[in-house]
């Protein structure tokens, strides 16, 4: 075991997979010499060579589309979109091709590739550097969408994503890239895609979150505990598919649910979770399923972010309201 933060853990997963599978290549803007603007790919080019870890021209549609070509030819590209807001030029390739190649060809070809995207707010960044685009991908049939919340999960989920025979969008909560340190096994291990994780078991309320919101939720739950509330925390981990079993079981038990996500509210991730809960546990509900989300606004520039970002206090406030409902 080795103490790692999320950047280390992802780097380690990439390193292991580059070593294990000669088909794996890692590329994108500045991922080579520079090692990525977040240093996630640091050292990999030196170790694995410029054919396998390299800088691409500055063109996201090209990055995604060439990855599809490589994947069809039997390679395993792991590409990086430098920031969340820069995946949009690649939407056509992702939505129209990557998500569909297997279905279009009735299984003859597929697109086993991984798109890594640092995402989310809270890092005092320029516009387009703080987006939460997971619902766009969750709404796109043919993709799997994964978000880790800890170094341990980051490594295991990324290895699973690279080994997966289908395309995976792997969103990295950049705000906690270096915030959490954890013992992480040095060997290769994988965590099945599509499974949520109960991080805290509790009786009175189910709190569902993922990514950087897990840390905020944990702080809120600590406050709740001090006030005698028992809250169950589900780390969703997989945006698509949603682990209905884990959600159902928890909500049937607690009867109350709070969903916390940073993305804009309307047509956002929390709405889908509310729908799932209505479908799976309606009769067990003792209070309306509730969402605490970003506003239907652009996420503000740094000086305004404080108005937008979700704090433990706000989460606690909703927990309190719901349990007293």
């Amino acid at each position: 075991m080795k103490v790692m933060n999320m950047v280390n853990a992802i780097n380690d997963a990439l390193d292991l997979m580059l070593t294990a599978d000669p088909g794996v290549v890692v590329y994108g803007e500045d991922v080579g010499v520079e090692g990525g603007v977040f240093r996630v790919t640091e050292g990999l080019q030196l170790k694995h060579g410029v054919q396998r870890v390299f800088d691409s021209p500055l063109a996201e549609s090209g990055i995604a589309g060439t990855a599809l070509g490589m994947a069809v030819a039997g390679m395993k590209p792991v590409i990086e979109m430098q920031f969340d807001g820069f995946v949009y030029p690649a939407m056509n390739q992702i939505l129209s091709h990557i998500a569909r190649f297997r279905n279009r060809t009735r299984g003859k070809f597929s697109a086993p590739l991984v798109i890594r995207i640092p995402y989310g707010g809270g890092i005092n960044a320029l516009e387009h550097h703080s987006e939460s685009p997971e619902a766009y991908f969750g709404h796109t049939p043919g993709l799997k969408v994964v978000i880790p919340s800890t170094p341990y999960d980051a490594k295991g989920l990324l290895i699973a994503a690279i080994e997966d025979p289908d395309p995976v969008i792997y969103l990295e909560p950049k705000r906690i890239y270096r915030a959490i340190k954890q013992e992480v096994p040095e060997e290769k291990y994988s965590i099945p895609l599509g499974k949520a994780k109960v991080l805290n078991s509790g009786e009175q309320l189910t709190l569902i979150a993922y990514g950087a919101m897990i840390r905020e939720a944990q702080k809120a739950i600590a406050m709740a505990k001090q006030n005698g509330f028992s809250v169950e925390l589900i780390d969703l981990r997989s945006i698509w598919p949603i682990d209905r079993d884990t959600v159902r079981e928890s909500v049937r038990k607690t009867g109350r649910v709070l969903i916390v996500t940073e993305a804009p509210q309307s047509y956002g991730p929390a709405a889908e979770l509310m729908a799932v809960i209505n479908e799976e546990a309606f009769l067990n509900l003792e209070a309306p399923p509730t969402r605490l989300t970003g506003f239907d606004t652009v996420i503000p520039l740094p000086l305004g972010e404080k108005h937008y970002l979700i704090t433990p206090q706000r989460i606690y406030h909703e927990i309190d309201k719901l349990i007293r409902y």
Binding site: G62, G65, L68, M70, V72, A73, H97, T105, P165
Partner: protein, 367 residues
């Protein structure tokens, strides 16, 4: 044979088109001899005739309501047949959607093509064809796939090329640019073929670009580029062969503008009289690639053309039976909607399918 010297002489900027046969099938240069054997020429003619026959029949099946839509190839066949002659088993074919003869050469069956245009994804499974991507509907988006395939060729040290198609309209899309650029920077063996058939649905070339031609766009990426008469099978064959040979020598991508004309409609739902003149159509009818090759064959007595009717009759039978095979394809099942989305069907899809099946059971199968 087209060579480095010809390339230098046909600088795209000078807007000189590489062409070997005149409209009436005569060599433009005295004493010119084709680099193809007589058998190859006759075979090419037969293939062209086959493509044309199949294409016309496809249009008529559609008219009969037996196929939902279809994009005619009429007039562009020389490009496809020449590609078929040059492309190798180990090469990738990255189609747009109007390269029928090239698909057939790659081993796609007419049955599959008909099945696809009847509206079944199964038609893109290409059971017998190796290394051919499915039709790409989002214009130009396939070109970046070609650059990626090219990277894989280099990465795996394979001696093979990628032939990637796009239309004149497609050159306006950002992906055209990104593909050419990636291919050039990565120095990958991709031969980009632009079928410049003068129109993108109703929009003429003049509203698509202000460049003197399309080949010139290769200069932006330092990619060798030639403007070729796409209705001249010999010219197309020579340039494609040269481009492939260059790629095999590690010289990277190549851009071919194949000047041609879509003699038919854009698709069976299109009416070209809305946007082009009879004169324009007649002007181009005179350049028909089939007629041109036929004149050459006739003049050189390569083939007894009195056999042609018989041949066509034979083709028609074959095509009809392919179509019938497509019609007899098993019914599209509910499973087919779900089964290919992922390598293993996720529980969520099973759940959605179950709910629907339960409904079907309850409703006695009524949708």
């Amino acid at each position: 044979m087209f060579n480095q010297d010809s390339l230098d002489k046909h600088r795209a900027l000078d807007n000189r088109m590489f062409q070997l046969l005149s409209e009436d099938g005569k060599p433009l240069e005295k004493g010119w001899k084709p680099s193809l054997s007589n058998e190859e020429i006759v075979q090419a003619y037969k293939d062209l005739l086959f493509e044309r026959t199949a294409d016309l029949m496809a249009v008529s099946y559609q008219r009969q309501g037996r196929m939902f839509t279809y994009p005619p190839n009429l007039g562009q066949e020389a490009i496809h047949i020449a590609t078929g002659m040059v492309i190798k088993e180990e090469d990738w074919l990255v189609p747009a959607f109007r390269e029928l003869g090239a698909w057939l050469a790659k081993g796609v069956s007419l049955r599959e093509i008909f099945l696809y245009f009847k509206g079944n994804e199964e038609g893109s499974h290409f059971t017998q064809a190796n290394r051919m991507l499915p039709v790409s509907v989002p214009i130009a988006s396939q070109l970046v796939h070609a650059a990626g395939l090219g990277y894989a060729m280099n990465y795996n040290s394979e001696k093979a090329a990628v032939f990637a198609f796009v239309g004149d309209g497609g050159t306006s899309e950002g992906d055209f640019h990104e593909a050419l650029n990636f291919a050039a920077v990565w120095n990958v063996p991709v031969i980009f073929v632009v079928q410049n058939n003068q129109f993108a649905i109703s929009v003429p070339m003049s509203m698509q670009t202000k460049s003197v031609n399309i080949a010139v766009k290769g200069l932006a990426y330092n990619v060798p580029s030639v403007l070729v008469d796409g209705n001249d099978l010999f010219a197309m064959h020579e340039v494609l062969s040269f481009a492939r040979a260059q790629a095999m020598e590690g010289k990277g991508p190549f851009l071919i503008e194949a000047r041609t004309f879509r003699m038919g409609a854009h698709t069976t739902s299109d009416d070209p009289t809305r946007y082009r003149t009879r004169e324009e159509e007649e002007h181009w009818a005179a350049k028909d690639p089939l007629k041109r090759l036929k004149s050459f064959i006739e003049a050189n007595n390569l083939f007894d053309l009195s056999q042609e009717d018989e041949l066509v009759a034979e083709y028609k039978k074959q095509i009809d039976s392919s179509f019938e095979a497509a019609e007899q394809h098993p019914e599209y099942k509910l499973d087919d909607v779900f089964a290919y989305m992922y390598s293993d069907m996720p529980d969520e899809l099973k759940r959605q399918k179950n709910i629907y099946e339960n409904y079907l059971n309850q409703s006695g199968g009524a949708k």
